[in-house]
Amino acid sequence: MILALVITPGYYLALGALLFIMGAVGLLVRRNPLVMFMCVELMLNAVNLSFVAFGEAMGDLGGQVSVFFVLVVAAAEVVIGLAIVVAIMRRRPNVNADDLSVLRG
């Protein structure tokens, strides 16, 4: 039965939506900045999956090129974000995201 099932792009989009929601909930629930970054990665992956699924559905390579650029931006984002986390944690270990209110006016 499952072998005969045709996987349309809709399946991938539904999976991407679920993954995005899980990432968003994680971002809101967790307070460790590192885990929050991981949740952002989850959301980016969900969007990548949707991009590739759309590209496949449209027969267009633009979706895959977009994913390529998202990968690069995600890498840059993680590098900068983790550098900030290291700089903060060096002053104050075990800090959580709610303590980082230095910039509050």
Binding site: M22, G23, N48, L61, V72, V78, L82, A83, N94, N96
Partner: protein
């Protein structure tokens, strides 16, 4: 077969995502993230995006997660998060509510689209059928693949369709697109990466001199005692370290301040 691969990979992806958001230990969360990323790579292969699948494994699982693990080990936060601490009242409930709202939105969109979520406008389906490879025009023995219309040439006189694909595999196509249509974005990406590297080095560099306390970092309600400048070393460390630090101070003042900084950082 595609369906089996899809459902197994989807289960792996969702289990990994659940692991990221519920594991208290950041190391476990990072390993669950690897699981999710591998699942997404499998789905990319299922979608015939072979190059992206490889890049996903190398860049995400190989570089980004390792970077996460490095930082976890470096700053030593591999302890369980205190779930009882709740600085924002009812944050978890609101977060779950927001997640339920997003889920409801996704379901509504899915229902409104009638299961046909493909990004095409309704009535646009015959265009796709036009370049569906129904009679194996590219001669590779596969008759149900989709060929982009830009690659199908139709002979005006005979009406015969010919597929022109000089470099027909995924990597060649992606490379062609990247260095022709998207070359400007590609070069901007190079600048972005350079800025990111420089920024990371500047941010992660240990600043010269003493680390100064940030007064705003103290939790509210804690009485702050201004430390005596001579007594700075003795605030957090015990007698032994203090005497050692003072000995160092008599030898070389600069070394002592460095010790104090280290002691403060480790305490």
């Amino acid at each position: 077969m595609e369906a089996v691969v899809f459902f197994v990979a989807a289960a792996i992806v969702l289990a990994g995502a659940l692991g990221v958001i519920i594991s208290r230990n950041p190391v476990h969360a990072a390993l669950s993230l690897v699981m999710t990323l591998f699942g997404v790579a499998v789905l990319f292969i299922n979608l015939e995006a072979y190059f992206l699948a490889v890049v996903q494994v190398i860049v995400y699982a190989g570089a980004i997660v390792v970077l996460f693990l490095f930082v976890i080990m470096l700053v030593g936060v591999d302890k369980a998060e205190d779930v009882r601490a709740e600085p924002i009242v009812r944050q978890r409930e609101f977060a779950l509510l927001a997640g339920a709202g997003l889920l409801a939105l996704a379901v509504i969109i899915g229902v409104a689209a009638g299961g046909e979520i493909t990004g095409r406008a309704p009535g646009d389906l015959d265009i796709v059928r036009a370049f569906e490879d129904v009679d194996d025009i590219d001669g590779d023995g596969i008759t149900d693949e989709t060929i982009p219309p830009s690659q199908v040439l139709t002979d005006e006189s005979s009406g015969e369709r010919v597929v022109t694909r000089p470099n027909s595999d995924n990597i060649h196509q992606l490379g062609d697109a990247l260095f022709t249509d998207y070359v400007f974005a590609f070069e901007i990406t190079a600048i972005l990466l350079t800025i990111a590297v420089v920024g990371a080095v500047v941010l992660a560099r240990r600043p010269s001199g003493d680390l100064q306390d940030l007064p705003e970092f103290d939790p509210p309600g804690v009485l702050r005692v201004e430390p005596d400048p001579d007594d700075e070393v003795a605030t957090d460390i015990d007698e032994e370290d203090l005497s050692a630090a003072e000995q160092d101070a008599s030898v070389e003042a600069e070394e002592a301040t460095e010790d104090a900084t280290d002691a403060e950082a480790t305490s």
